[in-house]
């Protein structure tokens, strides 16, 4: 990894837990999309029962990752109390005014105006990222979180029309709620929930195209592929989409600040 000024500042962008979560999430999501669309379209490359089996196998992985490991990962990313953890979540995952400004710059650049703004901002003095996700990714992540909840809920009914948990008739409740919305679309509750499940599947396909296509199909962001799948590190001084604020010249090796650890900071 080469820095622009030959002065690398390599930091840990993704913890091992982040990388594990991302890989499991990606594998589960791809499995669910492919097997789900196979079931719907009747593609011939796999039997219905195999597709359904794989589909149901992938579900717990996706849910454990999203509803347990990601919250744990976010909670572990900062020291301090609930307020600190909430602020970390808000700064890193919630689309805010500064993200809106960056997004404006990105859209302007797309249409030939201005430079592509940096979205990965590292505060060297504090020793951690101020924000690191592409603003579009922040929008996608929040919608994705909601979409996973909704597709899981609608999926319960597709899995079993009388599914219950601890004696609670969950599927029946879902069908009742679905029945309140379905007439607006001229559907029965079950029709609506099946169609909604399909629509959310298409959302994940769309998100995949945007995530991989728009955010990642760029040689200058390929460093993030390596970071998320393997190394976990980023040279924040290389200037491509990253910016270092409050930087100083006495970077020391293996220096650790707060939640984000500077795994390798040195002058060349």
């Amino acid at each position: 990894m080469k820095s622009q000024a030959g002065n690398p500042l390599v930091v840990e962008r993704y913890t091992p837990l982040d990388r594990l979560v991302h890989m499991v999430h990606a594998a589960a999501m791809l499995t669910l999309i492919i097997t789900g669309l196979k079931i719907y379209f009747g593609w011939s490359f796999m039997s219905f029962h195999t597709a359904r089996g794989l589909h149901m196998f992938a579900v717990p992985f996706l849910l454990v990752v999203n509803w347990f490991l990601i919250p744990v990962s976010i909670a572990l990313a900062t020291e301090g109390g609930i307020k600190d953890k909430f602020l970390h979540f808000a700064n890193h995952y919630v689309f805010g005014p500064s993200d809106a400004a960056r997004m404006g710059g990105i859209i302007g650049n797309f249409f030939g105006k201005g430079k592509y703004p940096a979205f990965s901002v590292y505060d060297e003095s504090a020793g951690h990222y101020k924000t690191k996700l592409h603003p579009l990714m922040k929008i996608l992540i929040i919608i994705e979180g909601l979409a996973i909840v909704l597709i899981a809920i609608s999926g319960i009914v597709l899995y079993s029309l009388d599914w219950s948990f601890l004696g609670l008739p969950i599927a029946s409740w879902i069908l009742t709620v679905g029945g309140m919305i379905a007439p607006a679309f001229g559907m029965s509750s079950l029709e609506f929930l099946r169609t909604f499940h399909l629509l959310l599947t298409y959302w994940f396909v769309f998100e995949l195209v945007v995530h991989v296509g728009i955010l990642e199909l760029d040689p200058k962001v390929w460093k993030y592929y390596k970071a998320i799948f393997w190394s976990g590190k980023e040279d924040v001084s290389d200037g491509n989409y990253s910016e270092v604020i409050n930087n100083h010249s006495d970077n020391l090796p293996e220096k650790s600040h707060g939640s984000e650890k500077v795994v390798k900071a040195r002058k060349s």
């Binding site: 592509y116 029946s172 298409y202 199909l217």
Partner: protein, 377 residues
Amino acid sequence: MKNLVKILDSVDILKMDRRTFMKGVGLLGASTFLSTYSTQIVSALEFAETKIIWLHGAESTGCSESLLNASNPDVAQALNKLNVNLAYHETLLAQQGIWVDGKLANTADLNSEILLEDLIKQGNYILVVEGSIPMGPAGSGRYLVIGEKPFKDTVAEAAKNATAVVAVGACACWGGITNANSDIVNDTDYRGIAFAKTDPKKGLFTELGIDKPVINIPGCPPHPDWILLTLGALILGKVTLNDLPSILDEYKRPMLFFPPDHVVHDNCPRRGYYDKGLFDEGAGGPNCLWKMGCKAPYAHGDCAMRKWNGSVSVCTQAGPCIACVEPGFPDSSRPLYVEAEDKGVLLGADVGTIAKVTVGVAAVAAGVHAVRRMKGE
């Protein structure tokens, strides 16, 4: 099944609890059940007689025809075995309405309307309603008048002295085809007994302030077993009005015949083709009909297990299921031969079209974005 029949054959029907009875009729069907227990039933009901008043509203009489299609036992045998007096059935009884100068004439032996009035006065009958009931125009109900009396008033009078009310067919349950969306649907204002489409607040009984428990036997038409076995359960006292909340679903359908956890698709004869991913896209093929708009995945009915026409066939062997047992039929199933997922949900576009457009736009944007980034612009 043979073992079950053997086991049930040795059971005294009169000592059978309701749960076992319901399981029995669900598994065996009317013909096997009635023939298995005919001796016991007849002896038990030797001195008892149950009257049925069967009213016809706005309908095609297809439900009665379906009942008449019952075989082994046919409807006459079943009524005989159950010791039922089908006291009034407009299309089967010999009498007819006779008015002279606007007034009912003659006696109940010849005049069906006098017979009906007498039966209502006597009480102690099960009221079966086939067909929908118009409230139009403007709440008068005069779009269906027999003699001088709007049909809604006849139903209201008959309901008051009934021991139980059974709505037979989609029309009596939800308004059915007569209540399907059209330019005149609000003017004619057809209602089901307990629902108008899926709305219980607009059901005839709610509208008229009649507080009577209702059993809905939907379908267009309903299976004869569903009708006979429901009436049989009521007549034999295996189902009482107190039991209704536990055996009916939210749309007042017996869960035994319309199971909430089961759809026609689960036991469809074409199910194997679905599992293989083989779908027909035109008429006459052997494969799964889902892509032709088959509503079996949404239809809660035991059709595919019970089978029709003397237990030899089911609708999906001929063409797509239209989910005629579902609340709000036929509007809830329209368009009949379009897959539910292909219904327009946004400005007439279905989810597949919406997905193709948005994913396509995203892919193009991604491509342009990638080229521009690679050029360093």
